[in-house]
Symmetry: C2
Subunit: 355 residues, 2 copies
């Protein structure tokens, strides 16, 4: 059965979800065959994968594929879906690194296995068991990502053309994640530095590289146009994320209110606020940012400082500018018209989302 972009985002997302479900069920059968000790691993990875929602990266990869002349069949759906597993690795490891206890309203993987340790009366440190399990489940997701791509059923020539892009994407992701961790530890106040992190962490990895990956699965054309669209949109995507991390509704984001403030995330939004603040206000912000037990009142205080400084508006206007720049780039290259319409819609989805 073939899929088109014309029917919109939802049916395509469903096809991607079906592909991921089929893959994870096949793999879980294998894990379960090794022994009952691995049942929790299989269950946790399946829930984590299936319960998540947006599938932005596979959707962009599908658009890149079609935009460069590909016709979406089951094999190419499987291939573009595989990059969601890279993202699953990033999220599981991210939660360990940030010490985040929840993900999409549910316990994060390390918390889940910490609880399993207690429930099963295991010996040693429950916290260490949780971390070890999450490291391994993330590693497994990363390996599954390769496996899902290799087994997708795409023609050998497509696969061989896609592998270098796939590798680059994953190297950039890990480099970007390190930059992010380093940036938080540096407690940087520079807008320029925060933007560099946004570019590497999300700009390239979330949109540009999935588009390239999709393109390479078909003719490999339009790489430049995809960069022109993907890099600014990826930055806008990250800037929206930063706003949601501060102002998002917990019921929609699945994260506690002001979670990024509690984690002390050094985002463009924060850098822009600091730049607009007097030394006293700056000192106050720095004393609250990254405070693990930040109260709701303190979250509210930081929010109003950010808003009244003009930084939130500034970031909103950056998002608008970047999105316009991104849409403009769609006029270059030879992107097919169905992919173009889809990407125009996706720019909206990526930058106006509530979670």
């Amino acid at each position: 059965m073939d899929y088109t972009l014309e029917s919109g985002v939802d049916p395509l997302r469903e096809a991607i979800n079906d592909s991921l479900t089929a893959f994870v069920e096949r793999e879980n059968k294998y894990l379960r065959s090794i022994g009952s000790e691995l049942f929790p691993v299989a269950d946790a990875l399946k829930s984590f994968l299936i319960d998540s929602g947006k599938r932005f990266r596979p959707l962009f990869a599908a658009a890149g594929f079609v935009g460069s002349g590909g016709v979406l069949d089951q094999a190419s759906i499987n291939a573009v879906a595989s990059i969601e597993l890279v993202h699953v690795c990033a999220l599981i490891h991210d939660d360990v690194m940030d010490g985040s206890d929840t993900r999409r309203g549910a316990p994060s993987i390390h918390k889940l296995f910490e609880k399993l340790h207690g429930d099963s009366s295991l010996k040693g440190s429950a916290q260490q068991f949780g971390v070890a399990s999450a490291i391994l489940l993330g590693d497994l997701a990363l390996v599954w990502a390769s496996k899902a791509l290799h087994e997708s059923g795409v023609a050998a020539q497509s696969l061989l053309r896609a592998l270098p892009l796939y590798d680059e994407m994953r190297v950039e992701l890990m480099a970007g994640q390190y930059l992010d961790v380093y940036e938080q530890a540096l407690a940087s106040e520079s807008i320029e530095r925060s933007l560099k992190v946004a570019r590497f962490k999300s700009g390239k990895y979330s949109i540009e590289r999935p588009l390239h990956f999709g393109a390479s699965l078909s003719s490999g054309s339009n790489l430049e146009a995809y960069s022109g669209y993907g890099i600014p949109l990826g930055e806008a995507f990250q800037l929206r994320d930063d706003l949601l991390g501060v102002f998002g509704n917990p019921e929609q984001t699945g994260k506690p209110a002001g979670d990024d403030l509690r984690e002390g995330k050094r985002t463009v939004l924060i850098a822009a606020t600091l730049e607009r603040s007097t030394p006293d206000v700056k000192a106050r912000i720095n004393s609250l940012l990254g405070k693990p037990d930040l109260s709701l009142d303190e979250v509210e205080e930081l929010r109003s400082t950010i808003t009244s400084s003009g930084a939130a508006d500034f970031v909103e206007s950056m998002i608008t500018d970047l999105t316009n720049k991104s849409l403009h780039a769609l006029e270059t290259g030879t992107i097919t018209s169905d992919a173009k319409s889809f990407l125009i819609h996706m720019a909206d989805v990526a930058t106006k989302r509530k979670y």
Copy 2:
């Protein structure tokens, strides 16, 4: 230039090292181009990779390749060398999971970055920064492993035939690592359970799968004979590891004396000791195993309990039996004679090593 197995282990190991060095230097150039923040990542991965020694897995893969009719050229050396990077990921993540502070006599990666945090006066928890960095460096090594294989230069057909084996090896590794972590937490006393872990963690991953991977890069023949050789030898390899973890000389192993005892590793050696002990002695062993501040006297006490119980001799005799079984399997299949001689020698290297 072609390489042969006839000149022995050392020249081949050198060729593998050269290939890894060239790869990591190329990749580091890229990391450094992103920004100076990534210099420590590049430096740490390079030292970690280059300073290590045995290259067992690439050596076995090379033997599998030649034994199935392949002629070792630069491309196939690059391909077999790539699996060392999978191992680098496993070691870096293993040290985080075990909380091991040293590796080969040097600080482990998380300790190195914990120190960097202090030296650079970064903010937040140095320990958390160390762990986050080590998770990402391990992830990067895992991605590099794929990249090194994809870029090795082997013919497309060889690469396509090798990918499923490569995937299986990595899935088994992660499953085996989880079994190991779980087994430690269960504080199991069963020889059978410990052997199952040894089989998954090391039996398949260290020897059988590298041989299969190498074979799949050439004709794909002899898989059964390689399993017959690799599985028992892998178990023997792990049992030697267990003995070295208790009795090894720190100057040779690069690990503190009795490190496995301090970590509370549940090995076949420990299970065999417990099986041979009175309830009192058993209780004493269980009270010492996994004690983080185990003294040298206590290490000595455990060592002599293990020896006098007969468990050390029992494990030595298991190693001998497994090795014989392994060598016997070389008589099956159509393994080329140069590979056969090499594998006979490698059986010795793997089971009689001092580190």
